[in-house]
């Protein structure tokens, strides 16, 4: 198992290098340059000489690949560069933003699991019942309605009409950062984000649970007089969880990607909103820094899912040793 994890980590490093290279090249291909932004003022009146001078200062006049190698070398030393916009080190821009994003994505993943898995089990236990149809319809709705739309509806109902929850932000005031205030502010963005994942996880749970419940080992357990609750959860669900893990693993990038939009709408001070402002500001070094972190979160998340596979299924655990 340890050997397997090391192998997976090795692959993750290669993928990671690929991602950063690709994003680096794509950014340098986009029109506009940070130099123009730094010189400032009306674009038509900027003197090209001045822009070229700033570009030279930043090292942007060199070939893309040379720039990338230089950037990568610095990253390996722990230096993510400085923000072109605020002149602060990139790492200082990102670290305070990482926590809010992780709070939002992790809680919404847990919430969507807590909603989707039990509903999926119930649907599979009584397939084609009224309950099954209702939960399928809701799942379909949650998956197909765009995230931003759900967010706006939630804000309209709970913040504007009922005035039960705050419209946006993470705390009531920046001076008073207590957990109660955090939870109240977290509810709406978390709900919006989790509703999107509920559908996929629910359908997968239902499908694999339906298959598991038709397994011969379920019949064996029943024939031994094992209680129905144990038959369904201990034998059925344990066996059905593996495909569910796959879906969660596959959803990781979407959960984090979806967070970008959700964070914008709810002014959640996470990586997503930092990313949007740095893209519009052509703040290359910050964009690259965020790319590194998001890629790392997704890759590490996938390795964790992989380890969970082994924990859930002894057959996989064995084939890996």
């Amino acid at each position: 198992m340890t050997k397997y994890i090391i192998k997976r980590a090795g692959i993750a490093v290669v993928v990671f290098l690929g991602i950063t290279l690709l994003v680096y090249v794509l950014i340098s291909l986009t029109p506009g340059s940070p130099a123009e932004m730094m010189v400032g003022g009306d674009l038509s009146k900027i003197s090209p000489e001045k822009v070229a001078e700033v570009e030279k200062q930043l090292g942007l006049d060199k070939p893309v690949f040379v720039q990338y190698i230089k950037w990568l070398g610095n990253v390996l030393k722990g230096d993510f560069g400085t923000s072109y916009k605020t002149s602060k080190p990139v790492i200082d821009e990102i670290i305070p933003r990482l926590k809010p994003t992780l709070i939002l994505t992790i809680t919404s993943t847990i919430i969507s699991l807590l909603i989707a898995v039990p509903l999926g089990v119930v649907s599979a236990y009584k397939p084609y019942s009224a309950w099954d149809y209702i939960s399928s319809a809701l799942a379909f709705l949650g998956t197909s309605v765009p995230n931003f739309f759900i967010s706006l509806i939630l804000i309209f109902i709970f913040a504007v009409k009922i005035k039960l929850l705050p419209v946006s932000g993470m705390y009531a005031t920046s001076a008073n950062q207590n957990i109660g205030s955090l939870i109240v502010h977290l509810i709406l963005p978390m709900t919006a984000l989790s509703l999107q994942s509920v559908g996929g996880i629910l359908r997968q749970t239902r499908g694999s649970m339906l298959e598991a419940l038709h397994g011969d080992y379920i019949r064996t357990s029943r024939a031994l007089g094992v209680s129905e609750v144990r038959v369904v959860f201990r034998h059925g669900l344990r066996n059905a969880l593996l495909p569910v893990l796959t879906v969660i693993g596959g959803r990781l990038p979407f959960i984090i990607g979806g967070a970008v939009i959700t964070e914008q709408i709810f002014s959640w001070p996470g990586l997503g909103s930092l990313m949007v402002t740095s893209i519009t500001g052509r703040d290359y070094s910050v964009i690259m820094g965020i790319t590194v972190f998001i890629a790392a979160v997704v890759l590490i998340g996938n390795i964790i899912i992989d380890i969970c596979y082994g924990l859930a299924d002894p057959r996989i655990r064995q084939s890996r040793t």
Binding site: Y217, T220, S221, L224, D313
Partner: protein
């Protein structure tokens, strides 16, 4: 004469499908006496598994209906039990051994935990540790070497024969009065088959419980059983002592089954005997004898009228007009 442990009378089992209601088991009658091994023989789809599964109420509830019949176990009608009462019977009074032990054992739970769960499903008073120790003893008693080690292993780590031994161990855990063995050796190779049958027989002699042995292997029933019920297309067409079935089979289907057993002294150039044709599918069985389309003696009457069970003075039951007439002539 030993007492009846199980008495199945006029059992009808139907499945609701999109094509309508299909009758899989049609007025089946048989008894299992205390300490007896009854063989239930027939080809795939004849209703032998469906019948045995119904005894424990294991047919899928959503589409199974039992419009007629009784399954009396020690005088109690199992068909009328609530789910909770039925659960108390399963594994405690009647247990079942299934055919495929690879898919029949939960792949993600170690053998030991499956055993502990099965013991504690009926005996909450036994601690987990005691149940574990009992599990080790049970594995030992069904001939599994180094049982302590096996307790920690998973189904896929055991060989087919070992897994089937575990299945038998599970069925024998709580000293049930009736064991239903549904093709317990079909998935195994021949040498292992003999070992498993030996084990079943030995345990049955020790505990003096009753066994329903379901199989399509005439060789197996010959060695194992006291009486044999032959099923065809949802009906029991012949029921008699094992000796009578092998020496004096009356139904043309049973005769065909016996003729189809390959013999060692058969000339090399002689083809194996087969019963021509196939079982009529569910829903197309008509009013006549279900075997009429394959029977060499079939008459007009056989095609239009269903033979009723006819029992001779020796208790040899057969459902066949021809056999009935021959009996009268004697």
């Amino acid at each position: 004469m030993a007492e009846d442990l199980l008495k199945v009378s006029d059992l009808v089992i139907q499945f609701k499908t999109k094509k309508g209601t299909l009758t899989a088991v049609d007025h089946v009658n048989f008894t299992v006496k205390k300490g007896e091994i009854l063989g239930l023989v027939g080809e795939s789809g004849c209703g032998k598994s469906v019948t045995s599964m119904q005894i424990l109420g294991l047919n899928p509830k959503e589409n199974t209906q039992v419009p007629e019949g009784e399954i009396l176990f020690e005088g109690r009608d199992l068909l009328k039990l609530t789910q909770k009462e039925l659960r108390a019977v399963r594994g405690e009074e009647i247990s079942m051994i299934f055919q495929d032990s690879l898919t029949g054992l939960d792949p993600v739970i170690p053998i030991g935990k499956i055993l502990v769960e099965a013991i504690r499903a009926h005996h909450k008073e036994i601690s987990k540790k005691d149940a574990w120790n009992k599990g080790v003893k049970v594995l030992e008693s069904v001939g599994i070497p180094s049982p302590e080690k096996r307790m920690h292993e998973y189904a896929h780590q055991l060989s087919g024969g070992m897994r089937q031994r575990v299945m038998i161990g599970l069925a024998l855990l709580n000293d049930t009065k009736l064991v239903i063995a549904d093709e317990p050796t079909t998935a195994l190779d021949v040498t292992i088959q003999a070992q498993i049958l030996d084990l079943l027989k030995k345990r049955q002699e020790e505990k003096e419980n009753s066994v329903i042995l379901i199989t399509h292997d005439m060789g197996v029933v010959a060695e194992m059983t006291d009486r044999i019920a032959v099923m065809y297309a949802g009906m029991i067409v012949e029921l008699a002592s094992t000796r009578d079935i092998f020496t004096d089979a009356k139904h043309p289907y049973t005769q065909g089954l016996l003729k189809a057993i390959p013999k060692l002294d058969q000339p090399d150039n002689e083809k194996l005997y087969i019963i021509e044709g196939t079982v009529p599918p569910l829903g197309q069985r008509g009013d006549g004898c279900p075997f009429a389309n394959r029977c060499e003696y079939a008459t007009e009457r056989c095609r239009n009228e269903r033979p009723e069970p006819h029992t001779d003075s020796n208790g040899h039951m057969v459902r066949c007009f021809r056999a009935e007439e021959q009996d009268k002539e004697v």
